[in-house]
């Protein structure tokens, strides 16, 4: 089915309208299964992901000298592989950073670089962590740019520092922690394969495996429903909202620990983000 659309796109691209091939869609046939129809819908986006706009903006922000110190992140920010190195950096995050003596995910590390390295004010950056239309988030754009530079690189966390192992264990505990009005934990929806909520497939994120790899490696993603690129911290925070618990604090230990658990379970998966999600 997906192939049918791709073939159709190819034919259209060549300029020749094949009446029979287009006949099917003109008739608006009802015969395909829901899953096939959704696969067709997703295939229609092709490789024209609006995340490209975030990547472009993120590149400018990365290279521009900013903040009270008038330095660029490209010159001063160490994401674990050395100052300014972004290729593959995301595939080794979260990790322990000696200068902050903390395990950090990409977003909390970027915040450190912007505040400590560039001398920018922390509050407005955090307040604006998730963009909305004309109000754009620097963190989302920078994340998109940096993660794009890990495309094709396999997830491989160092896991050599004791705090990294602790973060993983803590993330796992949080993953299974049921609470709130609805008794939900992350595991309520994400501990088996092949199930869906409404029409959305639910990946099993509780263990290392294909589900965990395929899911983790497409985030951040352009969320079609929001028209924004959303990062892992946003994804986790929004799951918690729907879990009916209070609001997850940006860059908090729970956010980083849970990211560590998910990232470790995605070990070996090749980064393919920013992806495109409902």
């Amino acid at each position: 089915m997906r192939r049918r659309i791709q073939q159709m796109r190819k034919r259209l691209l060549l300029g020749g309208v094949i009446a029979t091939a287009l006949g099917a869609s003109m008739l608006g046939a009802q015969s395909t299964s829901t899953e096939d129809a959704l696969a067709d819908y997703r295939a229609m986006f092709g490789d024209d992901n609006p995340a490209a706009l975030w990547i472009a903006r993120g590149e400018d922000l990365w290279k521009e000298a900013r903040g009270s110190r008038k330095v660029s992140l490209a010159d001063t920010c160490d994401l674990g592989l050395g100052d300014g190195v972004i290729k593959g950096a995301y595939a080794h995050l979260p990790r322990y950073f000696a200068d902050t003596a903390k395990v950090q995910d990409l977003e909390s590390r970027l915040l450190t670089c912007m505040v400590k390295g560039q001398g920018m004010d922390e509050a407005p950056i955090v307040k604006n962590r998730f963009g909305d239309g004309d109000r754009k988030s620097d963190l989302e754009a920078l994340s998109a740019y940096i993660i794009d530079a890990s495309r094709g690189v396999a997830m491989d966390l160092p896991m050599t520092h004791a705090q990294e192992r602790l973060a993983y264990e803590s993330g796992k505990a949080i993953f299974f922690y049921r609470t709130g009005t609805h008794d939900f934990s992350c595991a309520t929806c994400h501990s088996q394969s092949g199930k869906r909520i409404r029409l959305q497939e639910l990946p099993n994120l509780s263990v290392a495996g294909a589900d965990a790899r395929d899911t983790y490696t497409v985030w951040p993603a352009y969320r079609v429903s929001q028209g924004e690129v959303r990062t892992m911290e946003w994804r986790i925070g929004d799951c918690f909202r729907q879990q009916r618990v209070p609001e997850l604090v940006f860059g908090s230990q729970a956010a980083i620990d849970l990211t560590m658990f998910l990232a470790k379970n995605a070990e070996g998966g090749k980064m393919a983000a920013p992806g495109l999600k409902r």
């Binding site: 609006p50 490209a52 706009l53 004309d134 028209g227």
Partner: protein
């Protein structure tokens, strides 16, 4: 100022296909923000594309074109290395022009 467009123009046979991604909220004027306040209408209302000083596509849009609009169109007679120019104008009076070489 608005962010740059992302334009790709590809020559296949004698046809140039132009694909454009624009950074724009395309607010309908009916959406509420997180604080429950109505976000005012703000959308691209015209788009114009030209090649060699000649229009190859003009469009008029309403608020029902999706956020961060995507547009693809085709014209004949382009050659590699030459530039396609795209301009949009929105309801707030903002405008943005970008160009890309045909590949």
């Amino acid at each position: 100022m608005a962010d740059p467009m992302r334009i790709r123009a590809t020559l296949t046979g004698d046809t140039v296909e132009v694909k454009v991604l624009m950074s724009h909220p395309m607010e309908t004027g009916l959406r509420k923000d997180a604080d429950g306040k109505l976000v005012p209408a703000h959308y691209i209302d015209t788009v114009k594309a030209s090649y060699n000083g000649k229009d190859v596509m003009t469009a008029e849009w309403g608020p029902a074109v999706s956020k961060n609009p995507f547009l693809a169109f085709r014209f004949k007679g382009g050659s590699k290395g030459e530039k396609v120019t795209v301009t949009w104008h929105d309801t707030a009076g903002d405008t943005r022009t970008d160009e890309a070489a045909i590949q």
